[in-house]
């Protein structure tokens, strides 16, 4: 009897200890900070741990969008493994395999041309994602197809409505193992790293992510663990160069030779020695001239990037006989105004006149001045450049020879 009493006393101590442990464990629970984004109205506890993340962009305020709309994940879980178990695309929800649910979710960037929401549809059919040019060209060169029209892409894709003369109806997925020519097989093994869904190879100078973030999340290498939380439409030329100036092809070994230097001087180090440039081609950022339909696709499947190079020298400068095309902003809903709003480097308003491509796409960062000259504002730099039309100058160029190579004859800068 006494023995039991003593044991009970000891057990009471144990019980008290375990109850204290319970209280201790409960007090150490992360302070459940919840965020209820207005878009979903469902509380999310992500910020219980992720307290110091910067806002991803002014267009995606966290109070409206929250985290889960883009990233997925278990919004209620406070256990890291469970919370992250259902995230879309790991660190990068814009990866093309999940982009339709993340960036395209709630019909944000996925939809019809009329609503201007077809971003994902355009990207998925663009050469940046399909890689048609390289595949078609290599297959043509090695005799696997009679012309340079694209039949294969990185993935199979269809276009419901072909709007341009060079548009292709559909692509089948390129399968190198089905090819008979060994060079095409080697190409398939080593050269498919440059499209938007490919994980780029290691290389600090060339860091990029996949999907939308490959372009819209620049400067990944400046963040130590790649945990950059930023989306922007002000994309500097250095970001384009993470793919477009990354090295050189070796057609004998059918390989891609990465450059191992870290170029700093844009004019002298960056581009291939034989390339010729006019002043604007190396002082402006790529996106100052190349429009979004060039960069993200125009909705059609093209066989080659040259088919969607809509901006030429004459787009801004005109020819001897014609001034460049212009467009006067008529309403607040004008696409030029909407784009200028996203990247407020210019003060555009209704009544202003901007340059447009032949397809009617506005170069919203340009403006026609009252004296007949033009002005362009760098989208990534904010720098202001002024320029004049060709008409009325001493230029002797033929009207039907307007590709840049003709202009380079006189106007290339000395490297």
């Amino acid at each position: 009897m006494h023995n039991v009493r003593r044991m009970t006393a000891l057990a009471s101590v144990l019980l008290l200890l375990s109850v204290l442990l319970v209280w201790f464990a409960d007090s150490r629970r992360p302070q459940s900070q919840a965020l209820t984004p207005r878009m979903t109205g469902e509380e999310e506890y992500c910020i219980a741990c992720h307290t110091d993340l910067p806002e991803i962009s002014p267009s995606h305020p966290v109070e409206i969008f929250g985290c889960v709309t883009c990233h997925g994940g278990e919004r209620l879980a406070l256990d890291a493994d469970l919370a992250h178990s259902t995230m879309r695309g790991g660190n990068n929800p814009s990866n093309l395999s999940v982009v339709e649910q993340s960036c395209g979710g709630s019909d944000c960037h996925s939809g019809t041309v009329e609503e201007e929401r077809d971003h994902i549809q355009r990207v998925m059919t663009s050469v940046q994602a399909t890689y048609t040019g390289a595949i078609a060209h290599i297959r043509y060169t090695f005799g696997a197809q009679p012309d340079q029209v694209a039949h294969y892409g990185i993935f199979n894709v269809r276009d419901t409505e072909v709007t341009t003369s060079t548009g292709v109806q559909s692509l089948e997925a390129f399968d190198p193992s089905q090819e008979t020519n060994p060079s095409i097989q080697t190409f398939g093994e080593t050269c498919l790293k440059c499209h938007l869904s490919a994980e780029p190879p290691e290389g600090a100078a060339f860091d990029r992510l996949t999907g939308c973030a490959a372009c819209h999340t620049p400067d990944v290498d400046s963040f130590p663990e790649g945990n950059v939380h930023q989306l922007t439409t002000a994309i500097p030329y250095t970001q384009c160069n993470t793919c477009h100036n990354r090295g050189n092809y070796d057609l004998r070994s059918m390989d891609f030779v990465e450059r191992d230097d870290n170029p700093t001087d844009r004019f002298h180090d960056y581009y291939q020695p034989i390339a010729q440039f006019t002043q604007c081609e190396w002082t402006l950022d790529c996106i100052d001239c190349h429009t979004r339909s060039e960069a993200m696709g125009d909705g059609d499947i093209h066989s080659n990037q040259s088919e969607i190079q809509y901006v030429q020298c004459r787009t801004c400068h005109g020819t001897l006989d014609e001034l460049p095309l212009t467009h006067t902003i008529a309403s607040e809903d004008d696409i030029a105004l909407r784009m200028a709003f996203l990247n407020p480097v210019v003060n555009l308003s209704v009544g202003d006149t901007v340059l447009v491509t032949e397809q009617g796409e506005p170069l919203w960062n340009t403006r026609v001045l009252s004296d007949g000259t033009y002005e362009l504002v760098g989208k990534a730099t904010g720098q202001v450049f002024s320029f004049s039309p060709v008409m009325g100058t001493q230029c002797t160029q033929n009207a039907d020879e307007q590709e840049s190579s003709y202009c380079h004859v006189c106007h290339a800068v000395d490297r």
């Binding site: 009471s12 144990l14 319970v22 278990e74 178990s85």
Partner: protein, 344 residues
């Protein structure tokens, strides 16, 4: 001392020899206490749990992570349930290994077996209530097993899950079975079981003339021991609950999509292992039923312990019964281990 209500639930005195831990293992009493804990924690969970496919897993996450001490409640419920299975198995083994199931306790032995099955089903229904990716395949396999029963299978399937495939009706049915259908059954059977213990003469001992030791302890002492056991079990449950949280997984997206985990709950691993061998009706239903039948027949067909052998471990006369139980236990353990082997 004046006996209070709890003292009165016990007989005035019980034989000292047979009241020791090392004889009873305290298994029966522990099981009753765990049932009590399960009822309390389960009731608390009901205040937050939402039995709909969209909300179930999310409400489990809410209980686990956001309700103050909710995680403790859920983990304690989980661990009580797992311990209850083990304790009941220990109780069964003790009763067979001491020959205590002998007439007149044969009926109570059967009641105990039914209780055991009911608790296994409670455990399974509770597991399904998580409705997350961790239970997805156990649900599909467990319910499809019913379909393999000849003639009545398809009807039984519909009666259990309430439709042609698992869905909202299934979850609400499992919820109802877990809390009332099975819960109430276990409460009633437990009351009956305890009543029969008293009716059958308390703990099994040799008749007075054959007894070596006539010493007895009072109900006061018995209750004191029970209090000690309850305190210890509570402390153990809390410690388990804090350091080993109950399993949880992401909500089920789609019942046809393969989830990462395809293993059965641990107490059904032995059945899952047998299912790999072929005909699901034979291995998944007939064999487990035969095992239960053999267990149920032990007091009726196998030699029993003699009067003088009662009240101690390993009576010579019921050797065969003991061997049968050891055989069944080894079978279950080996099958479970096989199922746990990587790559199996």
């Amino acid at each position: 001392m004046r006996p209070n209500f709890f003292h009165h639930l016990h007989p005035p005195t019980i034989p000292a020899q047979q009241s020791r831990w090392r004889y009873t293992l305290g298994a029966g009493g522990t099981a009753v206490f765990l049932l009590f804990v399960l009822a309390i924690t389960g009731m608390l969970e009901m205040f937050y749990y939402t039995p709909t496919p969209e909300q179930a897993a999310l409400s489990v996450q809410t209980i686990s992570y956001h309700v103050p001490l909710g995680g403790l409640v859920r983990n304690t419920h989980y661990w009580s349930a797992q311990l209850l299975m083990i304790v009941m198995a220990a109780h069964l083994i003790r009763v067979v290994m001491t020959g205590a199931y002998r007439s007149p306790r044969r009926f109570n032995y059967l009641l105990g077996l039914v209780l055991f099955v009911a608790v296994v089903l409670l455990n399974f229904t509770g597991y399904i209530l998580r409705w997350d990716q961790g239970i997805q395949w156990a649900l599909v396999v467990g319910t499809n097993l019913l379909k393999t029963i000849p003639v009545a299978g398809d009807a039984l399937y519909v009666m259990l899950i309430g439709g042609s495939q698992p869905g909202p009706a299934t979850l609400i049915r499992f919820y109802a079975w877990h809390i009332f259908g099975l819960g109430l059954l276990v409460v009633i059977l437990t009351g009956w079981h305890i009543f029969r213990v008293r009716r059958d003469g308390g703990i099994a001992v040799p008749p007075p003339r054959l007894r070596e030791d006539d010493a007895r302890i009072t109900r006061f002492e018995l209750v004191q021991r029970e209090v000690l056991a309850m305190i210890l079990i509570t402390a153990i449950l809390f410690i388990l609950a804090i350091f080993f949280p109950a399993p949880i997984d992401a909500p089920i997206e789609q019942l046809t999509t393969m989830a990462n985990d395809a293993s059965a709950p641990w107490f059904f691993l032995w059945v899952q292992q047998m299912l790999k061998w072929g005909d699901p009706f034979v291995w998944g239903i007939v064999v487990p039923l035969v095992v239960m039948l053999i267990l149920a027949l032990i007091p009726y067909v196998l030699p029993q312990a003699q009067d003088a052998e009662l009240g101690r471990w390993f009576p010579k006369s019921n050797r065969l019964a003991r061997l049968v139980l050891i055989g069944i236990s080894l079978l279950v353990i080996v099958l479970t281990l096989l199922a746990l082997l990587p790559g199996s």
